[in-house]
């Protein structure tokens, strides 16, 4: 459960992320490079650096996260449709594992952009937040 303090940190530092569109694309690209097995979910994509598809998909993901940050008190509801999508259509498998890999990559990009501002407290808050998002997305798997 996110504490009040952690929610504040998440909102504050999420706002500090520059160029959110690019941020999403960067996290996705890093995930494809660092964990090649994740490419198996995107056989129809051009996965080269800077590809339009990665960029637009990154933007989609960040928009969803943006929405989640605005609804920290009710992630279940905010992400309900996406949860169904991931469970029934996309079936990203194993449910928690692959999403964890993307979470790690988002945190790497946050650390790259925020540097020393990505303190242990901010790190902990985001790790919790991204885990919570992944858990909601995995809720309907079975």
């Amino acid at each position: 459960m996110l504490t009040a303090e952690e929610k504040k940190l998440i909102c504050r530092f999420w706002d500090k992320v520059p160029q959110k569109d690019v941020f999403g694309a960067e996290a996705l690209y890093r995930m494809f490079i660092t964990y090649p097995q994740t490419k198996t979910y995107f056989p129809h994509f051009d996965l080269h650096h800077g590809s339009d598809q990665i960029r637009s998909h990154g933007k989609k993901v960040v928009t969803a996260l943006d929405n989640a940050v605005k609804c920290l008190d009710n992630l279940g509801q905010a992400l309900s449709e996406l949860s169904s999508l991931h469970a029934y259509n996309l079936r990203v498998d194993p449910p928690r594992f692959a999403l964890q890999l993307l979470s790690q990559c988002f945190q790497v990009v946050l650390a790259v952009h925020l540097g020393t501002e990505y303190t242990p407290e901010v790190h902990a808050a985001f790790d919790k937040f991204l885990s919570a998002v992944a858990a909601v997305l995995a809720e309907k798997y079975r």
């Binding site: 690209y29 890093r30 490079i33 660092t34 964990y35 650096h49 790690q104 990559c105 945190q107 790497v108 990009v109 650390a111 790259v112 952009h113 925020l114 540097g115 020393t116 990505y118 303190t119 242990p120 407290e121 790190h123 902990a124 790790d127």
Partner: protein, 142 residues
């Protein structure tokens, strides 16, 4: 060979003491259950206490120094870690999952220090390395 280059070029710029201390502190802060292995370390009651704790710093340095050994022996990591693996199993009783967590944290610490220089290719090489180290440490478990 390229990956080894990416690893050693980052490593040459790492302050082992600072980085080790930071990685271990973050492990204890972001994943508080890991504190169970460090009950003799004294005050771990808050992020500030953990970051300032001299035993945490010293142990972080030890852990990362040992990492340095792996980097010097990239072709022989399993042998390098054989004894440490037995230690972590027989004496320390550490669940190997924790090695993966520390590895992920180290990646984030490197990202926050090296920013753009911690390219996706670097992340890939380092993620591979921490995976191999974690595997080597878990190898002698029985």
């Amino acid at each position: 060979a390229e990956e080894k280059q990416l690893i050693t070029s980052i490593w040459s710029k790492v302050n082992v003491e600072e980085c080790g201390a930071e990685a271990l502190a973050r492990l204890l802060i972001v994943y508080p259950w890991t504190q169970r292995f460090f009950s003799s370390f004294g005050n771990l009651s808050s992020p500030t206490a953990i970051v300032g704790n001299p035993k945490v710093r010293a142990h972080g340095k030890k852990v990362l120094t040992s990492f340095g050994e792996a980097i010097k022996n990239l072709d022989n990591i399993k042998t390098t870690y054989a004894k440490l693996s037995e230690l972590h199993c027989d004496k320390l009783h550490v669940d190997p999952e924790n090695f993966r967590l520390l590895g992920d944290i180290l990646i984030i610490v490197l990202a926050s220090h090296f920013a753009r220089d911690f390219t996706p290719a670097c992340q890939f090489a380092w993620q591979k390395l921490v995976g191999v180290v974690a595997h080597a440490l878990a190898r002698k478990y029985h």
